[in-house]
């Protein structure tokens, strides 16, 4: 009898514990909806920390000096000069980069983030930096030029990207694989473990013209009825940072600096 009582007690306390977990989940959601409190005005130029998944050549990657460089990094550095803020870059893995923003580990994400309605629900975006497209990359011998031609084969994309969203619900593939880095997906494609990769256009061009030019090629552009833009993501309601970034971006677009950076990186 005593044991029965004990068991009941444990069962009860366990369910209380479980309920509190549910409660925590709810509370957190509510917190996210509230706008962040305005930060006190800083003295001198404000430092904005940008998280960047530096595995994404040519947009942002680490060079041999272990510095984060790339097209978008140059854009942000130029925008910082015009916008009156200091830009600092932090290398953060893509998978979890949005969680870190929500948790306040950095002020913004500069990592070729495509502006989508789903993402807009949980974070705010700057004005678009530029438009990109989704491209299908295949081995040089592959004849297919669209997703339909790849039925029964394996396809891959980087986890949590718009590239993955394009293929996620397409039926008929042997396997749809997600990779932590787009480079690992390309590696598997070169190896033959998968037959196609979907990636952002700048990245697809980089890999098919520079890294593995003799082994893979661009099969085609995956047409979409919506223009896909990339922008800087900030925590929902963080207007201070957003205004500074927008001011800087507008300034470099107006005075032609942006086009110069584009030309320097041979971006279309």
């Amino acid at each position: 009898m005593k044991r029965l009582f004990k068991n009941l007690l444990i069962a009860a306390s366990c369910s209380v514990l479980a309920l509190s977990v549910v409660g925590c989940g709810k509370k957190e959601e509510k917190k996210e909806d509230k706008p962040a409190a305005a930060a006190p005005a800083p003295a001198g130029p404000k430092t904005i920390i940008f998280a960047s998944d530096a595995t994404y050549a040519p947009m942002q990657y680490t060079n041999e000096q272990k510095e984060i460089v790339g097209f978008e990094v140059d854009v942000i550095k130029a925008a910082a000069e015009k916008g009156g803020f200091k830009a600092e870059f932090k290398n953060v893995a893509w998978d979890g980069i949005f969680a870190g923003l929500a948790a306040g580990k950095y002020d913004a994400i500069s990592s070729s983030v495509s502006i989508t309605d789903e993402r807009k629900a949980t974070m705010d975006f700057s004005e678009p930096i530029m438009a990109i497209e989704q491209m299908l990359v295949v081995g040089v011998k592959e004849k297919a030029t669209d997703l339909a031609g790849l039925k029964g084969k394996s396809i891959g994309a980087q986890i949590g990207t718009t590239s993955y969203l394009v293929i996620k619900d397409v039926k008929g593939f042997k396997a749809i694989k997600t990779y932590d880095e787009v480079g690992l997906a390309m590696e598997d494609l070169v190896k033959g473990a998968i037959q196609a990769v979907v990636a952002d256009s700048p990245v697809a061009v980089e890999y098919t013209t520079k890294k593995h030019a003799d082994k893979i090629k661009i099969a085609g552009v995956l047409k979409s009825d919506k223009v896909e833009n990339i922008g800087i993501a900030v925590k929902k309601g963080n207007k201070d940072v957003l205004d500074l970034v927008n001011k800087g971006l507008a300034a470099i677009k107006a005075d032609g600096t942006f086009d110069k950076i584009k030309a320097a990186h041979q971006m279309k």
Binding site: A11, A18, V21, G25, G96, K177, D180, A193
Partner: protein, 260 residues
């Protein structure tokens, strides 16, 4: 000399211990807490938890598959290595010892990358195959050490008695030593099984669609990090607890033959 020598050659005492009874023990509390946790999440907050569990479904199957196949292969490799490590043949002993030294010196994560991405250029291995090979090779080395310790723990008198009864070396090992060594070996091997199960989460870096990767896919798409990883952790916990119970039942069966 039939007293069982239960010496601890693993990471610690097996949980649950045989002396725990009823619901009121570490295992019971954990499993009931975990299952109640999952159920209450599904009941009180069906969205997103139901959608999440459905999404994780095939990942759970893959995790099971990798675990069971790796355990099977690692046991065979471990037995061979263990026998090699106690072998009097110098060459065999050296090969087995070198294998253990090399594998124990390289982190599993690096081994996974190595087999899939580095050797992948030479050998065309499927992602799941690469994962199972890496897990088996790695845990085979650890289990080899457990087997060696278990075999060594059997009193020398047993060998002497068997040999004086006219059994040859092979017969002594397989008919006398190993059947007794199982009892000593099983608790630490059970710990290895559980460690292996948890380490299968590492194979998600090879883009294997296991439980963790499915969770990462779900969270990176829906941004529900708290919900996703709560569920993933609870599912891992339930699987691990079931496995540890299985090991302890096996242990209890084997200790049936021990005379106290």
């Amino acid at each position: 000399m039939t007293d069982a020598k239960i010496i601890d050659v693993g990471e610690g005492a097996a949980i649950p211990s045989k002396s725990d009874w009823g619901l009121f023990n570490a295992w019971g509390i954990s499993i009931i807490g975990a299952i109640l946790g999952i159920i209450s999440l599904l009941v009180f907050q069906p969205d997103p938890y139901r959608r999440l569990l459905v999404y994780l479904g095939d990942g759970i199957v893959i995790t099971f598959e990798v675990t069971l196949l790796s355990i099977f292969c690692a046991c065979i490799i471990g037995l061979i290595t263990g026998l090699g490590r106690v072998s009097k043949n110098k060459a065999i002993n050296l090969i087995a010892s070198t294998y253990v030294e090399i594998i124990r010196g390289i982190p599993l994560l690096v081994q996974l990358f190595y087999i899939y991405y580095a050797l992948g250029r030479l050998l065309d291995v499927h992602d799941l195959t690469a994962a199972i090979i890496a897990m088996s090779v790695c845990y085979g080395a650890y289990m080899g050490e457990v087997f060696r310790a278990g075999i060594r723990a059997i009193d020398k008198g047993q060998t002497e008695a068997a040999r004086s009864l006219g059994l040859n070396g092979k017969q002594t090992m397989f008919l006398v030593i190993l059947p007794q060594a199982w009892r000593t070996i099983l608790p630490p091997v059970g710990n290895e099984f559980i460690a292996l199960l948890k380490d299968t989460s590492l194979v998600s870096i090879l883009a294997v669609s296991d439980l963790l990767r499915r969770g990462r896919e779900f969270s990176s798409e829906t941004f529900l990090y708290f919900e996703t990883y709560t569920m993933v952790a609870l599912v891992y916990l339930v699987i691990t607890l079931i496995l540890s119970k299985g090991v302890s039942i096996m242990e209890a069966r084997l200790s049936h033959y021990v005379r106290h």
